[in-house]
Amino acid sequence: MSQENPDNTDVTRMIILGPSAQVSPTELVQKLHMLELPLTIKSTCYGAIIHGQEQVVKDAMERIRKLDPYNIFTKDRGFPPGDPRRCRAKRGAAREGFHQLEKEFELLDCVREALENPREVHVEKYEKIAPDSLKKIIEECEEE
């Protein structure tokens, strides 16, 4: 049975380039290599996957995001790069999570636009309704 191993601090992150990105996945991977950090780097169609010690990955992410802050998005990944349980080379067909990424990719340009032109908005706070108010609403509805 698989057990959790708290000593293993290696993490994997996906770096996803938005549709208006000024860098290509190839350039992204080159820049990642030029950071000279102890990382496993894998080039992908949407950007890259990096794998290594948590602090090193975080450092690489912060530095690489500076290339194009509004067009480089990152998220965690559970499986390491090239894992046969996920890698398309072994399994065939679309990788799990691909369709989600494909769907969210459609919104990334809007996210970029909103991040470039931030706007203060009012966040509506919902509160619990008092039982008396609820009774009043029910009575009003019944009268109608």
């Binding site: 049975m1 698989s2 057990q3 959790e4 191993n5 293993n8 290696d10 993490v11 994997t12 996906m14 996803i16 998005f73 990152t74 998220k75 965690d76 990944r77 559970g78 499986f79 390491p80 894992d83 046969p84 349980r85 999570g97 369709h99 989600q100 990424l101 769907k103 969210e104 919104l107 990334l108 809007c110 996210v111 636009e113 909103a114 991040l115 931030p118 706007r119 203060e120 908005v121 009012h122 966040v123 919902y126």
Partner: protein
């Protein structure tokens, strides 16, 4: 702050939370703990027979084991959350009945937890997407102001 996101594997939500310096409680972090160690199972399973037992903390024994198994992964993330962002009707959140019930149960626990919660609908247009990003950023800024 540790922010629970829903759907728990959302790229946009996780990225926006991390841009503001918070920690996104993404599902992948829990999954990673279970899949990276070479163990007796080959391949190691995401969910073993242990998970439905752990899931009993979050769902009664009558609840199907699929829901309890999923809750064993989602539950610790909900326990850790200091705030939450829920995006409903996400198209990729669609799944089998087990997924649907787990989603409902997770959202119920988040709402019951008495933490700051932002509830949104998955955007279907450019305007809605921009509004969503601004709302999330304002919510996260307000959290920072409250908690320093």
């Amino acid at each position: 702050m540790k922010i629970a996101i829903f759907p728990p594997n959302s790229l946009i939500l996780a990225d926006l939370v991390e841009r503001k310096g918070h920690e996104a409680l993404a599902l992948q972090k829990e999954i990673r703990k279970k899949v990276i160690d070479p163990e007796i199972d080959s391949p190691p399973f995401n969910i073993t027979e242990e998970e439905p037992i752990k899931g009993l903390k979050y769902a009664a024994i009558e609840v199907p084991s699929g829901v309890r198994g999923r809750m064993a992964i989602f539950g610790p993330l909900i326990d850790e959350a200091d705030a939450a962002i829920i995006m409903e009707e996400a198209p990729y959140g669609f799944g089998c009945v087990g997924c649907a019930r787990t989603n409902e149960l997770s959202m119920y626990y988040l709402r019951k937890k008495n933490i700051p919660i932002l509830e949104l609908q998955y955007p279907t247009s450019r305007e809605e997407a921009i509004e969503m990003v601004n709302t999330i950023n304002t919510f996260l800024d307000e959290l920072e102001e409250k908690n320093g």
